[in-house]
């Protein structure tokens, strides 16, 4: 099917890649403005406290120091939200003030003289320590925070010591929780089960640690704030940024041509992106704030940690009858996350239990703020579930791939608490394709032990919803015959801004060489686009570009009919021409059509536009109106049901029983994301996701000293980001490549499941190597393996988190 396309499903050279290999690509910190000064932040040394005095006298007197910005200069926010600067820090690294100076060194010299007195308040780094009766609360207002449509607010929830001890011992939690959803008849379904497995689990959160320490540079001109920022999204970043700056969206220009990684940490505006705007306003000069690596750790966001309990019921045939899951989620100091419910949703999607209950308890800690991180919730639970599925397979005597196929998501699967359909799903096919490519059956029969090393085979499944709707598309045909595709999608490095733009070129049958993408700067007249996150871009923006291109196509045919006679339906396009179907020799070039559109005005030239498009798109259209033929539309295409992005992974490891280390000998990842739009880009996502999964499975975690709230891994070295030598030299990937009916090109997203399947496969392989042992914990580090193999106790308490 994809063979019909000229561009879709083909590799191409994305326009931004050359800049990346030549060093010409500009990231926020590569920009300078006349008179620009540098800023640095002073952050909280205390996990929780109240600033009682700030002495900046000496700093202000220093030559080269231009100004100081404190919490008094920025809007106050209500707890638990994050402020730009605060006097009530709730984690080590919470920004308190900023200094601007002529050079970064002067900033730091001045910083060294700052005296801040802080009155300490109780703090906590492990949710269970806060939950236990008499335990400290991370916020004075309470220790839990629920965000829901019905209302958000603080709560103080305590469990008795006995309840906490029982939970640690692996028993079903009996303490209070704040959210719950369920479907089906849970009790009956468990009663019908042949096998019931109960497991406690903990997944430790960890920092995003994008390569680029986030930077923002801002200045004001004629009431407009220009921000050179580091953002995953482009247009989607704007309303939040404007709100933080206290201005209207129209008064902000965001320049974000390239972003040095985000992984969920830069989806929407974050407070310090607005800091230079306030600072620049105060001192009247452009201000650039580049955070240090340490500060990127503090405020660059982190994955939500889980401490939970799960009970799964299986029929004799391997079919999952019921699932009951309870998750305490570590939502940091700012009550950000919401991963737990997503994890519950993922269970419903990937394992399709006939009855299910989810209970969640979001607990605040004084650790770094949490946020979405690649598959937030889905990937934690993928890691938890893999060895449990393996255990069930073993007990029931079913092949481990087979038991996953028995429960696999397909077009008829109904998911989530509200029992929604899926647009399409082919988990079964993905598993089969992966098993074939990996040669699962054959490998299964290979001998397991080789000296002190054991082989482990793993299979894992990943899921994330992979599409959103209602965003706008905007294309423009100019008299020079070029197709301009305006994209408000960010540049996270997935090249999806480009691959989705090709959808418009595909519709208009335009040579790619004659297309130009406009992006990366509000002044490039960009439409309202989705966040570049949640694996949504491919689905959402093939649609927006499709509707915009269809709008353009309709106008082109109308212009042709108007100019050359007949009805629009008499015309077709090809070779950058609109021509009469009956007599292809008669036609107009795209350039001529564009020139005619300018003459005709009205909706042809953008002087008139649909009223359902977003105000950001409206402004973009206003600015380009009259420069060509404008195709603009909101994505109102039919959409119902959940849009799944699915992936499976197979891996083989060789685990050294004496050192606890393992080598990943082979890795196969299969994407099930509808039609493949950009093969190399998809491979990149699958392989990058695999590396992320490997980091989560064995290396990355937050470590806090609970006695004083200090974080141990503030740098790259301590964070344990996987290197070249910690991942296989070759990772193999492929895709199922079956079109989804609800996307004009059949495509869905994949970025997040690409990681979930990897962490799951690794957990499954480690468990397999250790004869089915379930650690119930990520990451699994060499010390844990050594302790297990040697029959020693682990160093940590059961379910302890944010620790080694």
């Amino acid at each position: 099917m994809s063979n019909e396309y000229k561009l879709i499903g083909k590799d191409f050279v994305p326009p931004d890649i050359t800049g990346k290999v030549t060093g010409k690509a500009k990231y926020a910190e590569d920009f300078r403005a006349d008179g620009m000064v540098f800023a640095r932040m002073y952050t909280s040394p205390m996990a929780h406290g109240k600033v009682t005095s700030i002495n900046t006298e000496q700093a202000e007197a220093m030559e080269g120091v231009v100004g100081i910005l404190t919490a008094e200069d920025v809007p106050e926010v209500t707890a638990p939200d994050a402020a730009i600067l605060t006097n009530t820090p709730a984690y080590i690294g919470d920004p308190i003030l900023a200094i601007a100076a002529e050079t970064e060194q002067i900033c730091e010299d001045a910083m060294a003289t700052i005296e801040v007195e802080i009155e300490p308040l109780p703090f906590v780094t492990d949710p269970l320590d806060s939950l236990v009766d008499g335990g400290p609360n991370a916020r004075t207002e309470g220790n839990a925070y629920a965000r829901s449509r019905e209302g958000s607010g603080f709560q103080t929830i305590k469990w008795s010591q006995q309840q906490v001890d029982d939970f640690r011992a692996g028993k079903e939690p009996t303490g209070d929780f704040v959210s719950e959803w369920s479907y089906g008849d849970l009790d009956n379904s468990f009663a019908e089960a042949e096998l019931v497995i109960e497991e406690p689990f903990v997944t430790i959160g960890y920092a995003h640690m994008s390569m680029e320490p986030r930077t923002a540079m801002a200045y004001w001109q004629n009431g407009t704030c220009y921000v050179h920022g580091s953002s995953q999204s482009q247009s989607y970043f704007m309303p939040g940024l404007a709100r933080m700056l206290g201005v209207e969206t129209k008064d902000v220009v965001l320049i974000s041509e390239n972003t040095g990684g985000g992984f969920g940490s830069k989806i929407g505006a974050y407070p310090i992106a607005a800091l230079p705007g306030y600072f620049s306003k105060k001192i009247g000069r452009p201000v650039q704030l580049r955070v240090t690596r340490e500060q990127e750790y503090y405020m660059g966001s982190a994955r939500v940690g889980f401490q939970g309990w799960i009970k799964m019921g299986f029929g004799a045939d391997g079919k999952i009858t019921a699932s009951d899951v309870f998750i305490i989620e570590d939502i940091g100091p700012n009550a950000t996350g919401g991963d737990a419910s997503s994890a519950g949703g993922a269970i419903s999607m990937v394992y399709d239990p006939s009855a299910m209950r989810f209970r969640g308890l979001p607990v605040l800690t004084n650790t770094t703020p949490r946020g979405a991180q690649r598959g937030p919730g889905q990937n934690q639970i993928a890691a938890v579930m893999a060895p449990i599925m393996d255990k069930a397979a073993k007990v029931l005597g079913i092949d481990r791939v087979e038991i996953r196929k028995i429960n696999s998501t397909n077009n008829d699967t109904i998911v989530y608490a509200d029992r929604r359909p899926v647009t399409s799903a082919y988990m079964d096919e993905a598993l089969q394709q992966g098993a074939d490519m990996f040669d699962w059956q054959n490998r299964k029969n290979q001998p397991k032990k080789k000296g002190k090393k054991v082989r482990g085979l793993g299979v894992g499944q990943g899921y994330h919803s992979a599409g959103a709707t209602g965003f706008d598309g905007l294309v423009r045909l100019t008299p020079d015959g070029k197709l301009h595709i305006h994209s408000g999608v960010g540049n996270l490095g997935t090249y999806s801004f480009a691959s989705t733009s090709r959808a418009a070129a595909e519709v208009l049958k335009c040579d790619w060489e004659r297309c130009e993408i406009h992006r990366g700067n509000t002044e490039n007249h960009l439409p309202w686009s989705s966040y570049q996150a949640g694996s949504v871009t491919i689905f959402s923006h093939t649609r927006t570009n499709y509707v915009a291109a269809m709008d353009a196509l309709d106008k082109m045919k109308r212009i042709a009919a108007q100019t050359m006679g007949g009805e629009p339906g008499d015309y077709d396009i090809d070779g950058q021409r609109v021509f009469l179907i009956e007599d292809p020799a008669q036609g107009m070039s795209y350039g001529a059509i564009a020139a005619r559109a300018i003459q005709l005005g009205g909706d042809y030239s953008g002087a008139v536009y649909p009223d359902d498009i977003h105000e950001i798109t409206q402004r973009a259209v206003q600015n380009i109106a009259g420069s060509g033929l404008i195709g603009v539309a909101k994505d109102n295409l039919h959409q119902e049901g959940v849009i799944p992005g699915l992936a499976v992974a197979f891996c083989e490891i060789e685990l050294d029983l004496e050192t606890g280390k393992y080598d990943i000998l082979d890795y196969v990842g299969i994407a099930e994301c509808g039609t493949v739009i950009h093969p190399k880009g998809l491979a990149q996502q699958m392989k990058g996701g695999a590396v992320w999964g490997m980091g989560m499975a064995g290396l990355e975690r937050h470590v806090y000293d609970p006695q004083n709230g200090l974080p141990a891994n503030i740098g790259y070295h301590q964070c344990g980001i996987p290197t070249y030598l910690d991942v296989p030299s070759v990772t193999k990937t492929d895709a199922v490549n079956i079109a989804d009916p609800q996307n004009p090109f059949g495509a869905r997203g994949i970025g997040e499941p690409a990681m979930g399947c990897s962490v799951a496969a690794l957990q499954s392989a480690i468990s397999d190597a250790l004869d089915g042992h379930i650690f119930g914990r990520t990451p699994i580090s060499p010390d844990m393996v050594v302790n297990h193999v040697m029959g020693r106790d682990q160093s940590f308490l059961p379910l302890q988190t944010n620790n080694f």
Partner: protein, 196 residues
């Protein structure tokens, strides 16, 4: 209404043109120059970068990454951690990979420095490594890419036909948070004329 041209750009240039404006560092310069102990280094030095001799005022403690980015406008060299823990700032000094964030500019006075900006031929032709990285879609976010490119260039100059494992070892001091390792290795193999 002409959309493009009506709005004047406030930003005149990126750093490249701000070389002359590096005078902001004059403040500590004066102080440091005043009580310079006997035998300590001179500040105004010449360094050979990408085949050109550049005259630049360098503080004694200044790192090469700082000089490149803040004084010479060579912003292709990225600072990811400034602690020698990521490799984004990798440059070649006498043909060998170094973390420029952890190299004193004064230590390269008698040596040659190559950065990602110095790889293209005068006619703009990309270096084979750069071209191969494009062909293999090696970069993702691109922030670590200049460093990866430099490590690959150093490898291929010494070992024109490396094995994939040799490439993996040679590039292992360059972190990629996007996890694009596989594609970078494909790029190295392609650049060496071997099929990945």
């Amino acid at each position: 209404m002409n959309p493009q041209l009506s709005r004047r750009r406030f930003i005149k240039a990126v750093i490249a043109s701000s070389v002359a404006a590096a005078s902001t560092s004059g403040i500590n310069q004066a102080a440091a120059q005043g009580n310079r102990p006997r035998g300590s280094v001179e500040r105004l030095i010449s360094i050979n970068i990408n085949g050109q001799t550049r005259r630049v005022d360098v503080a004694p403690q200044e790192t090469l990454a700082y000089t490149l980015r803040y004084k010479l406008g060579l912003t292709g060299t990225k600072i990811g951690c400034n602690r020698g823990e990521c490799g984004a700032c990798t440059v070649l000094i006498n043909g060998v990979t170094n973390y420029s964030c952890s190299t004193l500019t004064h230590s390269v006075r008698t040596r040659t420095v190559r950065t990602v900006e110095g790889l293209q031929a005068p006619d703009g032709t990309l270096h084979p490594v750069q071209q191969a990285f494009i062909d293999e879609l090696s970069p993702q976010c691109g922030f670590c890419t200049p460093g990866q490119v430099m490590s690959a260039v150093a490898l291929l100059e010494e070992t024109p036909q490396p094995t994939r494992e040799e490439a993996r070892q040679a590039l292992s001091g360059n972190l990629c948070r996007c996890g694009a390792y596989d594609h970078y290795l494909n790029g190295v193999m392609r650049a060496s004329g071997q099929n990945s």
